[in-house]
């Protein structure tokens, strides 16, 4: 067990955990932030995506000890009220079916657009291919990303 101070959504949070514990479980079990989802535990599905210094990463395989000093943003911190253009677009297009993967999809898409405000189709596909949606909302995710690009202008 070890103490860590993490910077999550602009706030300092203290935890006392196994240094190997992945960030995902620190968020969910220690800090009661349930927006980041457990899907595969092997960085294969993207449900656990958060931002680490602005880059989309899979929190299910990232040990908490590796996140010290970094700015961590989770779905809860993207915006408090759903006003982020990606969240807005997701609601406008009515993307979610079961909705379980969508926090991860939104975190991946928002990191992409923050770094590349006008990605082309291939650039979007290259990034979004890392996030599985078992319900098959891909066509709507595509529409919502196009809409988020418009809303961000």
């Amino acid at each position: 067990m070890a103490r860590f101070t993490l910077n999550i959504n602009g706030k300092q949070r203290q935890v006392d955990v196994d240094p190997e514990m992945p960030l995902l479980w620190v968020l969910r079990d220690e800090l009661d932030m349930k927006g980041t989802k457990f899907g595969c535990g092997k960085a294969l599905c993207g449900a656990c995506t958060v931002h680490l210094n602005g880059a989309a990463i899979r929190s299910c395989v990232l040990p908490v000890s590796a996140t010290v000093g970094a700015q961590i943003t989770t779905i809860e911190g993207l915006s408090e009220d759903g006003s982020h253009p990606v969240q807005q677009a997701w609601m406008e297009v009515d993307v979610p079916q079961c909705g379980y993967c969508q926090a991860g999809q939104i975190m991946t898409a928002s990191a992409l657009l923050a770094n590349n405000p006008k990605p082309n189709e291939e650039e979007v596909a290259a990034v979004m291919s890392g996030n599985l949606c078992r319900c098959g909302t891909y066509p709507r995710i595509k529409k919502a990303i196009d809409r988020a690009i418009e809303l961000s202008r």
């Binding site: 196994d18 927006g35 092997k42 009515d94 079961c98 379980y100 078992r134 319900c135 098959g136």
Partner: protein, 732 residues
């Protein structure tokens, strides 16, 4: 929609005829000057507060099929309120609401009457209350947007002002229902009621619903199906910080409930997983150590080479027809075991106390779990509370409550609240898979290319056989009334079940996900053999006469050839079927009736350099009766196509040495973003009763895809998934 939080005095009043029950309690609040509202339950489906707030109950589990939005829409329509006037509230297990489950695409169709009546009855009572107050006939009053008006008057009374008086009235019978032409909510696109909560990461799912203080249980089950714990050593596991206890859980008598296992209980999920990885368990396995796809395949092959165990249909005389036909075709089709892969792994929470139980977690059968818990613990059902949360997918996996039993048994054993959490590996290893099957066809055409005889010998690893059901093992495996049965003068269908230790269950569009592939593929083969256009061949078979065909399986008791013909014609026209194919675009077609709905699809593919199909565009035409939620319906139909495509390209469980050999999404791939085709769907206008939509487009895509591959290459795909088909194995 608004979230309604204020300090109010709640009074719940039930309609007089139901019990006259009056409950009152005070919410904590210092300021007694704040508004005091009474909350009145006019029936089990809705509550109206005296301050005008309206709550509508969502009775069934939300698994991504949209019923948390679509079912309340039906009530709101008849209640005559605007959608933004209401709050949707998820019901717990509540026997007053009838059956609570998600399966068979039945939520809309089986609740249609009850939900309309719930809304219309409440509306009638509110109108009656206003009429009584105004001392006029209720025929002189009407409701609009949550307000009752007297004809000719501009000012009306809102429902909130009428509800206390309305609750004192006798509940009327046979209230009038709205005509579809007057619908204001039904047929519109209403976004999912949880969308805001979902995009902001609120804890909506089963896995999110653990109260603090509960232990997490991660269980080690036998890698070989049916194995039983012989002994275990938990020394290393217990040394992991956070691990609290390691206990054995005995298997239930039922194969559909929990399996023999060792549970590691910890204060957090990571510790439980880590502890489990250090467990040493010895398993005792009595049968099935050698079970494999190869063994099952040879058994399926043997049984489809001989007379079937069950003869399901025998019209005319197929043997005679084959003997005399100028053209006879034979073909063998195969489908693999499929994994459900709900993105939220299985999980369940149980808090079994001395004389009460609290339950929550992801399931498609919330209505059945209290009974299950009662039988296990002896605690009566009326002392059991079950809350429903969103499910991160279902697809049939969560019709089986094995993991809920694990939580109930563990909580009872440890006298502590327990949340059982499955890892992805647990989920893939211990699923109840879509049965594997083999299908041998023989078809005969006459001199004019007319279909004269159809003979199917089928065998699958029957899921009803697996669970030891008293129902016939062919149930939901093959459908003796499905098209083209009844249109071929000589028609025979036989079936044989194969016993295996591999667990099987319902997988989205059970049975149809295999039979539509084989039937619609073989019809395509016959059309080509007859040198006829595949769509024209189907239409010719259906005939021009409008017929009502008997259909004994789910979705019956009959189906209409007129409606089936219409989706075929519309899809062919709309999907550009009649235009000549281009060098780069090839088309395939399929049409199917299932669960009461009619679907036809045109798929357009391009081939890459290895002849692998890139699905570019899918057109689907659907007749599902009255449309409830346009956006939700389209979402289901789109999702079904992508799910079916994913399974057709990649799905297939590898069984060797009595166990599943894949572990995660690297070895069990699913379709990803860049592979999703463009999808266009047309839902035909209809005033027929509404049908469900959660499963209906799924079965067609595999057939339409393989028919397109044939059109492009002349190669016929008869075995799924494509990635394991010899056509692609040899080229890769």
């Amino acid at each position: 929609m608004t979230t309604h939080i204020n300090r109010r005095k709640f009074i719940r009043v039930s309609g007089l005829s139901s019990a006259g029950l009056l409950l009152a309690f005070h919410l904590p609040g210092k300021n007694t000057q704040e508004s005091v509202a009474e909350e009145v339950e006019l029936n089990a489906y809705l509550k109206i507060s005296t301050d005008g707030h309206i709550q509508i109950v969502a009775k069934n589990p939300e698994i991504g099929q949209g019923v948390k939005t679509s079912l309340p829409m039906i009530i709101a329509e008849e209640l005559e309120v605007d959608w933004d006037q209401i709050e949707v509230v998820q019901a717990g297990a509540d026997s007053r609401l009838g059956a609570q489950f998600a399966g068979g695409s039945m939520s809309v169709k089986t609740n249609w009457d009850a939900l309309r009546n719930a809304g219309a009855t409440a509306k009638a009572m509110l109108i009656q209350a206003a009429a009584n107050e105004w001392k006029v006939s209720n025929a002189d009053c009407y409701a609009s947007a949550g307000v009752v008006y007297r004809k000719g008057k501009k000012k009306g009374k809102p429902y909130g002002d009428l509800v206390v008086a309305a609750a004192k009235l006798e509940v009327p019978k046979d209230v009038p229902l709205k005509a579809p032409a007057d619908y204001k909510i039904l047929g519109k696109s209403i976004p999912g009621v949880d969308n805001l909560a979902l995009v902001t990461g609120k804890p909506l799912f089963g896995l999110d619903a653990r109260p603090s203080g509960a232990l997490i249980a991660v269980l080690q089950r036998s890698p070989v199906f049916g194995g039983v714990v012989e002994s275990f050593d938990a020394t290393a596991a217990l040394q992991v910080p956070g691990v609290v206890e390691v206990v054995e859980v005995k298997a239930s008598a039922s194969k559909m409930q929990n399996r023999s296992s060792v549970a590691v209980l910890a204060k957090n999920t990571w510790s439980a997983m880590k502890g489990r990885s250090l467990l040493q368990v010895k398993w005792k396995v009595e049968e099935g150590q050698e079970e494999s796809n190869r063994r099952i395949r040879s058994e399926l092959d043997k049984l489809t080479n001989q007379k079937g165990e069950i003869e399901l249909r025998n019209d005319g005389n197929v043997e005679e027809a084959f003997a005399n036909a100028p053209t006879v075709l034979e073909a063998t089709y195969e489908v693999p075991f499929l994994y459900h892969a709900t993105l939220e792994p299985q999980n369940y929470f149980a808090d079994v106390k001395e004389d009460s139980i609290y339950l929550s977690g992801s399931t498609q059968v919330p209505g059945g779990i209290p009974g299950l818990a009662s039988r296990i613990t002896g605690i009566p059902v009326d002392k059991i509370t079950l809350d429903q949360n969103r499910n991160g997918g279902g697809f049939g996996r969560r019709l089986t409550a094995d993991y809920a039993v694990e939580a109930i048994v563990l909580s009872q054993q440890l006298k502590q609240p327990v949340q059982v959490v499955w890892t992805r590996e647990d989920d893939i290893h211990h699923d109840f898979y879509r049965p594997a099957g083999m299908y041998k066809f023989k078809g005969a055409l006459d001199e004019n290319g007319k279909l004269r005889a159809w003979h199917l010998r089928s065998a699958t690893t029957s899921r009803y056989l697996y669970r030891g059901s008293t129902e016939s093992p062919h149930t939901t495996e093959v459908f003796p009334d499905g098209f083209p049965a009844g249109f071929v003068p000589n028609f025979k269908m036989e079936y044989s079940p194969v016993a295996t230790t591999v667990p099987t269950g319902a997988w989205r569009a059970p049975g149809h996900n295999a039979t539509c592939f084989i039937d619609q593929s073989f019809l395509d083969e016959l059309a080509h053999a007859a040198d006829k256009d595949p769509v024209k061949f189907r239409l010719e078979l259906l005939g021009n006469e409008d017929k009502t065909m008997p259909y004994a399986d789910h979705g019956g008791p009959n189906y209409s050839t007129k409606r089936l013909r219409r989706v075929i014609e519309e899809a062919a026209d709309w999907g550009g079927w009649w235009a000549p194919p281009t060098r780069f675009r090839h088309r395939g077609f399929a049409a199917h009736f299932m669960f009461g709905a009619y679907v036809a699809q045109v798929v357009e593919i391009q081939l890459d350099e290895k002849n692998w199909p890139i699905v570019k565009h899918v057109y689907a035409v659907v007749d599902c009766g009255i449309l409830i939620n346009k956006s939700g319906a389209l979402a289901q139909l789109e999702g079904g196509i992508i799910d079916g495509l994913s399974a057709a390209l990649y799905g297939g469980v590898k069984i060797r040495e009595g166990r599943t050999k894949q572990d995660n999404f690297d070895t069990y791939p699913l379709l990803r973003y860049q592979e999703a085709p463009r999808i266009d769907i047309q839902i035909l206008k209809s005033t027929e009763r509404p049908e469900g939509l959660g499963e209906m487009t799924l079965p067609l895509i595999s057939a339409a895809l393989c028919n397109a591959i044939f059109a492009a290459t002349g190669e016929r795909i008869r075995s799924l998934p494509l990635k394991d088909n010899e056509l692609y194995r040899k080229s890769s």
